[in-house]
């Protein structure tokens, strides 16, 4: 069990950016019949998705979010000593995008910057890293960036994934502070299930070739190539409804809290069918469990900060007790619990 806890470190502010371009799930997909489309869309509860136009990367979305955050918090960029960029859709294979963002954002050369490859659990993992760095005497502020152009990674002609994923970026500023209380993180890995959500080709084990880019048809009518993501939907569902409630209960036990005393439970936004099931199982009132699925879909590690920005906004400006849980690619599950004295939530940036 990886359990981390900190004191007097926390989130100063949070911003998120999405592409302006809206994709309408019910009407814009002409591969599936209207009947099939309707059945899928109603089940997953995703009606609109923000899709990055050609040339717009996860790093661009994070850059926009970070600039918004810097402006709203009047941040002195020279105080940022660490930048962490979490994504599975970096600009290049080499170098990482985090180090490019150090330059784009005008951060000093004394700033450490790197990438972390994580999916849906990535915001919690990122916070746990950022809090750890920020506790160091030699680190003043940490910038955590989560960015994904997930829509580019899956076939729109895949029944299981073609309606789910969307693009977004977030920026979160972490620092020491006497106003911050305790924070707790539980982080777990289930690597034996690494093929439940996977892009098989394009890496070192299965390099890109004419074969890997060739689209193939599958028995359920889906069409995709090995360069596109494949998901075992029922496997991920079974995993999530088993492991997420277990980890959340474990967290409440560690922090000696009841669900009643938590103001907001922000879950990774997988799809409405899964999230509704989880919320019922966690016995969290729907009013405490905001969702951004309808308009923003599943944005992998950005979905939790994007939900905080779009659904909670000023609610988080004053003291609140939060429980956050991310789960998916890896497979990997991470839960955080902390009370915020209030953080600055920027308005959603659209680019």
């Amino acid at each position: 069990m990886s359990y981390l806890n900190y004191e007097q470190v926390g989130i100063l502010g949070l911003a998120a950016a999405v592409p302006r371009n809206v994709y309408h799930n019910l009407t814009d997909n002409d591969y599936f019949s209207l009947e099939d489309t309707k059945a899928i869309v109603e089940k997953i509860g995703i009606y609109e998705r923000r899709i990055a136009p050609e040339g717009m990367c996860a790093s661009d979305l994070c850059r926009a979010a970070a600039e918004k955050l810097f402006a709203d918090l009047a941040v002195d960029r020279n105080e940022i000593d660490v930048l962490i960029f979490i994504s599975q859709t970096p600009d290049y294979r080499t170098p990482g995008s985090g180090i490019i963002l150090q330059d784009w954002l005008g951060l000093p050369k004394t700033c450490a910057a790197y990438d972390v490859n994580l999916g849906c659990s990535g915001f919690i993992y990122g916070l746990s890293l950022a809090f750890g760095f920020a506790k160091q005497d030699g680190v003043r502020k940490v910038l955590l960036l989560n960015g994904e152009t997930r829509s580019k990674a899956y076939s729109f002609k895949d029944r299981k994934t073609g309606f789910l994923f969307a693009d977004a970026g977030s920026a979160c500023l972490v620092s020491k502070g006497t106003a911050f209380g305790e924070s707790h993180f539980l982080l777990e890995s289930f690597g034996s299930m690494h093929d439940y959500i996977m892009i098989k080709a394009g890496g070192s084990r299965c390099p890109s070739s004419l074969k890997t880019i060739k689209e193939r048809a599958f028995p359920d009518g889906s069409i995709r190539s090995d360069e596109q993501g494949v998901m075992d939907g029922s496997g991920v569902f079974e995993f999530s409804i088993t492991e997420v409630p277990r980890q959340v209960r474990q967290m409440l036990k560690i922090t000696n809290r009841e669900m009643d005393s938590i103001d907001f439970v922000v879950l990774h936004q997988a799809n409405a069918f899964m999230n509704d099931h989880l919320i019922r199982k966690l016995k969290a009132p729907v009013s405490k469990a905001p969702t951004s699925l309808e308009k923003f879909g599943n944005t992998s590690s950005v979905s939790i900060p994007l939900t905080m920005v779009t659904q909670l906004g000023e609610e988080l400006g004053v003291s609140k007790s939060l429980l956050l849980s991310g789960f998916g690619v890896g497979l990997s599950v991470a839960t955080a619990q902390f009370d915020t004295p209030g953080m600055k939530i920027s308005d959603l940036e659209e680019i």
Binding site: E238, I241, H277, K281
Partner: protein, 75 residues
């Protein structure tokens, strides 16, 4: 068993009385990945259990599913 069959009728969106214990459920025209998710979800909510996928994959009839739930239910 009766309650279980009602639950499966709901999950598969079939007409009342058209779901029987000995039916090979994967042969229903309504059986697809979405129906599969609904079945997993309803079994979890009703019986508090997620049937291991290796076990579920071997099951042919609803009677076998019910048998598994009955033998492994903690309630």
């Amino acid at each position: 068993m009766e309650k279980f069959l009602e639950l499966m009728t709901e999950a598969l969106e079939r007409d009342t009385g058209t779901v029987q214990a000995d039916d090979v459920f994967r042969e229903y025209p309504e059986w697809d990945s979405l129906a599969h998710l609904t079945v997993i979800s309803l079994i979890d909510e009703e019986y508090g259990m997620v049937i291991p996928r290796d076990e579920f994959g071997k099951m042919q009839t609803l009677a076998e599913v019910y048998q598994y739930i009955s033998s492994n239910s903690q309630q």
